[in-house]
Symmetry: C2
């Protein structure tokens, strides 16, 4: 395994809360963000700038961004699906955008209502409008597998990476397993292939789901290729409303536990994180996952040397 | 990844049923064995010869062994914890014994009421009494981690392998993660170290638990080193009664699904296996696990290309 530290991006406040129908009061969301920060989380996808009509849960994005700005050292990224929403986010003082587009045309159409090529042009416009000091990460959904069309050819993903890298290779490129159906061998192969073909891209990330129990295995496969940034969600919250059966991101606590056992630093305190995850599990409509929370709850958390 | 096929040892009828308090009628156990066989399972830990007073659930071992003998091509192994029980098993026509002993003295004492050295002497006696055509596999419990003493040093495990290999290197050596707390890096390291140090041992196997969500990841780490035999339990049934919190073997269906995606043949039909697992989930007192059963149940099993 490579590296002695890993950067975890806590995506629960966005990817985890988004599919929950009942509106979580802004103060409660802010309290979750506080607990995650107190647990040592220093990078977070805190919210999304999307149509409040389409996703009412994310309607309080500006307020949450303002809340996050009070936390020293917290790198706050916000999801944006379009040029218009990127403008909204930047106007609200967002300085780290996560622009999402899908490799699969069918998924991109469902998710952001345009073709991948149109999304690439959106990225070109967004990149051009970035103020000094602002950054963008690219979330390539269905980089491995599409809920509608099944397995995605590596060549298709690499072609999209190429189009985006021709606009900016400074962005962080996050390859996302949207369905949770990819296996570690393919995760490793695609990252190795991508790193070899695009040496100009310096930052890679992986985002996976644990739907079929491969969440941690896939993260480790990415880590083994040198990927240093991993998305995960506390309590295993999450799932994509447009990917049927994708019932949860890989759980942050599963990663923190695993990496600790491997001697890889995450900077996150497991006990405090578990406290936040336990709290999340009580949210009405929350779809929780992961294994470590149950395993440590089964006997005594306090006696566990994580 | 190495190899284009893998041999799965279905241990549910032993490891999965054993911790269930309420006696499962022998005919029902036989029906499970039938369904697993019909799903393509060709190697099974079907029962255990242990004290019927200590483990009443396994009291029907001779009858189940007789039932299994009617199935062409089924390799039936039975767990034995001592010389005395090995004698009982052989008298009942068992021809494939799985002798269990622990690397950790504390666990061996709890599990089989003797020291590891005494267990090694038991193996010497068992090996000497094997009739022609009979085989033995060695289950080295706590090969990585002990529920009582925590992490086990690789040197301790290798020392026990050495003592056993000096009696017979023809046995299959199964390194068991009893607690589910080992990580894939350590699984890979130990198997590589063992294979290098004991080239005379031709058959290695891995037995893991999914308690912390690392079941499949650990199996793949073993597979990557060339291990060709993997234990698993349908429905993720199982757990060790003497390992608190070890709440389930890696689920056979999770492995069958994963290996199919990787193009590695298991010989097992996923649909039929899921049928057996669904049936197991209805057993009173059953502790089920795994992810694939839920994931495929969540939408339509029939539409899934495993």
């Amino acid at each position: 395994m490579s590296g002695t530290s890993i950067s975890i991006v806590e995506v629960g406040p966005r990817d985890g809360f988004q599919p929950i129908n009942e509106f979580i009061p802004t103060a409660q969301k802010a309290a979750f963000i506080d607990r995650l920060y107190e647990a040592g989380i220093r990078r977070m996808e805190a919210t999304a700038f999307v149509s409040p009509r389409a996703v009412p849960q994310m309607a309080d994005a500006p307020q949450l961004l303002e809340h996050c700005a009070t936390k020293p050292g917290l790198d706050v990224q916000v999801l944006v699906p379009s040029r218009k929403q990127a403008e909204r986010a930047l106007a609200a003082d967002a300085r780290h955008l996560a622009f999402v587009l899908s490799v699969s045309p069918a998924h991109n159409q469902s998710n952001v209502l345009r073709s991948p090529r149109e999304s690439v042009e959106d990225f070109r416009a967004i990149f051009a409008m970035l103020p000094p000091g602002a950054r963008v990460r690219l979330n390539l959904a269905t980089a491995f597998d599409c809920p509608f069309d099944g397995p995605v050819e590596p060549g298709e993903t690499l072609e999209l990476v190429e189009a985006l890298a021709s606009i900016s290779s400074d962005a962080e490129f996050c390859l996302c397993d949207t369905t949770g159906r990819v296996t570690p061998d393919r995760v490793g192969d695609l990252f190795r292939g991508a790193q070899q073909r695009f040496p100009e891209i310096g930052r890679w990330a992986f985002h996976g789901h644990d739907t079929y129990g491969l969440g941690v295995a896939n993260v480790l496969a990415a880590f083994q290729t040198g990927v240093g940034v991993i998305d995960s969600s506390f309590g295993g919250l999450g799932g994509c409303p447009f990917a049927p059966g994708a019932t949860g991101n890989v759980a942050t606590e599963d990663l923190v536990w695993t990496f600790a056992k491997m001697g890889v630093a995450t900077g996150v305190d497991l006990e405090r994180l578990l406290g936040a995850a336990d709290m999340a599990a009580t949210l009405p409509g929350a779809c929780v996952g992961g294994r470590v929370r149950d395993a440590l709850g089964a006997h005594s958390r306090r006696s566990e040397n994580a």
